[in-house]
């Protein structure tokens, strides 16, 4: 009888701890954070570098700097799914290059910025593969583009 009581008491005290343990086990593994930096090549229509690399599933924090000094052209950084760059670029041609928030072809986009300004965006790196990025200011994407290589983790 006594041992039974003890068992009940132990079970009563241990139950919440067991639940906490279960909860911990169920929590997702911590997402790896990766910081990337890219800039315009001064006033030229090119990204520097034009190739970026990150692991799949990582939380990517990307900073884009407009390195221009003379021209008032605005730039941004837009990451899209493979094969979508030209279509997205064309669709925003009449809209000063502003990307709609609900465009499912777009993975990430920074705000448009003026010379000397740095802007940021954050996104989860998609499945392994090569993803094109470009500047969506009308006429820029043709020259100002590059590739994000997403590697297997």
């Amino acid at each position: 009888m006594r041992s039974s009581r003890r068992q009940w008491l132990f079970a009563f005290l241990a139950a919440p701890l067991a639940l906490v343990g279960c909860r911990r086990k169920a929590a997702p593994p911590e997402q790896r954070a990766v910081d990337l930096f890219i800039e315009s090549d001064g006033d030229f229509l090119a990204f520097k570098p034009d190739t970026l690399v990150c692991p799949s599933g990582a939380m990517v924090r990307l900073a884009f700097h407009h390195g221009g000094k003379f021209l008032s052209a605005r730039h941004n950084w837009v990451l899209v799914y493979p094969g979508q760059m030209e279509a997205v670029d064309k669709d925003v041609d009449d809209n000063e290059g502003i990307i709609p928030k609900d465009d499912t072809r777009v993975i990430a986009v920074t705000p448009m910025c003026d010379k000397g300004v740095t802007v940021m965006t954050q996104f989860t790196a998609p499945a392994p593969g090569d993803y094109p990025f470009f500047c969506s200011t009308p006429g820029h994407g043709e020259c100002m583009n590059g590739i994000l290589h997403v590697e297997r983790t």
Partner: protein, 149 residues
């Protein structure tokens, strides 16, 4: 007379490389001249794509690139700066004409013909600089991406 012309030509030929070395900010000059070419190519692209509303914007950028040329040559001798200014003004004026035309004219061929005249005016400016500093209009900008697709 022939001898005089030959002598002048020889002096000019010899003077050109010397000018390249004597420019106070050769890298800045090179960058500024390349910016003119970049914007000129953008002009052409907007006309070809019938994006006429963007052409005045390109003209504005052309004037900014022209300012970059002025800034890069600000420490040069007055006589050289005067020559640069005269040809720069002619080039800017030619591109303004293209910009003004794009507001009324939608014939791509006519606009491209006017653009070609502007390129000639720009090349006259480039002639003031040594060949090694003149931008190649067929070269892509550095670091051009390969992400089309």
């Amino acid at each position: 007379m022939k001898r005089t012309i030959a002598a002048i030509a020889a002096v000019l030929t010899l003077a050109t490389p010397a000018l390249a070395q004597s420019l106070k900010s050769p890298d800045d000059v090179k960058t500024a001249l390349r910016l003119l070419v970049q914007v000129s190519n953008d002009f052409k692209r907007q006309i070809t794509n019938k994006n006429f509303a963007r052409v005045p914007r390109e003209y504005m950028e052309y004037t900014e690139a022209a300012d970059a040329v002025r800034q890069s040559t600000k420490d040069e001798p007055a006589a050289f700066k005067a020559k640069v200014e005269a040809r720069l003004k002619a080039a800017v004026s030619a591109y303004q004409k293209v910009s003004d035309m794009s507001g009324k004219e939608t014939d791509v061929d006519k606009l491209l013909a006017e653009h070609a005249k502007a390129v000639t005016a720009m090349n006259a400016l480039f002639d003031l600089f040594p060949a090694s500093m003149r931008p190649d209009p067929n070269l892509p900008p550095p670091g051009r991406g390969r992400g089309r697709g």
